[in-house]
Subunit: 151 residues, 2 copies
DNA sequence: ATAAATCCATACTGTTTTACTCGGGATTTG
DNA sequence: CAAATCCCGAGTAAAACAGTATGGATTTAT
């Protein structure tokens, strides 16, 4: 019941772009370094995200990547779907494909997986990159005030 | 974001044992046939379930497998954990192992995966085999009364 | 105009996991 | 004793994973 590194790294990278969201594009090299991901590998992942319209690439020197929409309009669910495919614990409850299992209508185990899928979707589609940035900010402040107390 | 066939088949088999739960053990051959699973492969899965104390094996002719506890006391989450390991979309939010990621405390993407994990756990740990049998029964009756109307 | 920085694209590769298969031994019942 | 069944360990082909490698296209700075 694992995500591959694609979704894992991809979200890290998108979160990085969200944290540094602004007018200027951010070179992938920087993102890869900050997030400790192989640059070449990350290139493949971001290519998928670009084709899906989640980021824009700016070529040439001083180029880089920039979110195609503001962080508040990009949800984790979108990112995961692009990089991992349909969110579904087993194939017969895929969000996209039609179920080819002949007992689909009767199969009770299937309803279990559907419930799992729906609960995952509910979580992923309710968290935006902006939400994550806000949480990060809160965490950071929490850590800093702890520092003040102990210092 | 997929389950392997281990969890998928394993739940099917356990549900089959629950549906036919009684005094007599059920040969794996029957379960495998009913659920369309390779018998040899299922043997490996049920071995794990037996070692985990979820089913009991009865050797010899007229032998088979039987649930170690009544269906109402066996939850889907247990079965999945035995066959798939800790429920966790990424390793750093495993239920068991300690996180070895050095930025664990700070990493915001990690909190996303934690939320996903918790929502999956909540679903899987709230459905018992008895719940599934009850749903199956309801479904069956629904289909039958539909038949009556249309006939 | 050229060099550097960056994105973009395709192909290749070693390792691990998956989903089995195979062969045989141990135990119980009729 | 024979049949049915559980029990156990090894082997294996194919796919997926997690990258590498190589080089071309485009833009900016000097």
């Amino acid at each position: 019941m694992r995500l591959s590194t694609r979704g894992h790294y991809g979200l890290k990278a998108m979160f990085d772009l969200a944290q540094h969201f602004g007018a200027d594009p951010i070179p992938l090299k920087i993102v890869a370094e900050r997030q400790s991901i192989s640059e070449h590998y990350l290139e493949q992942l971001i290519a998928a995200l670009r084709k899906a319209g989640l980021v824009k690439g700016v070529r040439g020197s001083q180029g880089g990547y920039i979110l195609a929409r503001p962080p508040r309009e990009i949800y984790v669910g979108e990112i995961v779907r692009v990089l991992e495919g349909s969110i579904a614990p087993v194939e017969c409850v895929s969000e996209f494909k039609v179920a080819q299992c002949d007992q689909a209508d009767f199969c009770i185990t299937r309803t279990v997986w559907k419930k799992v899928r729906d609960s995952i979707v509910q979580v992923l589609d309710s968290i935006s990159l902006a939400d994550m940035c806000r949480d990060e900010e809160r965490n950071r402040q929490g850590r800093e005030s702890e520092q003040e107390i102990t210092t």
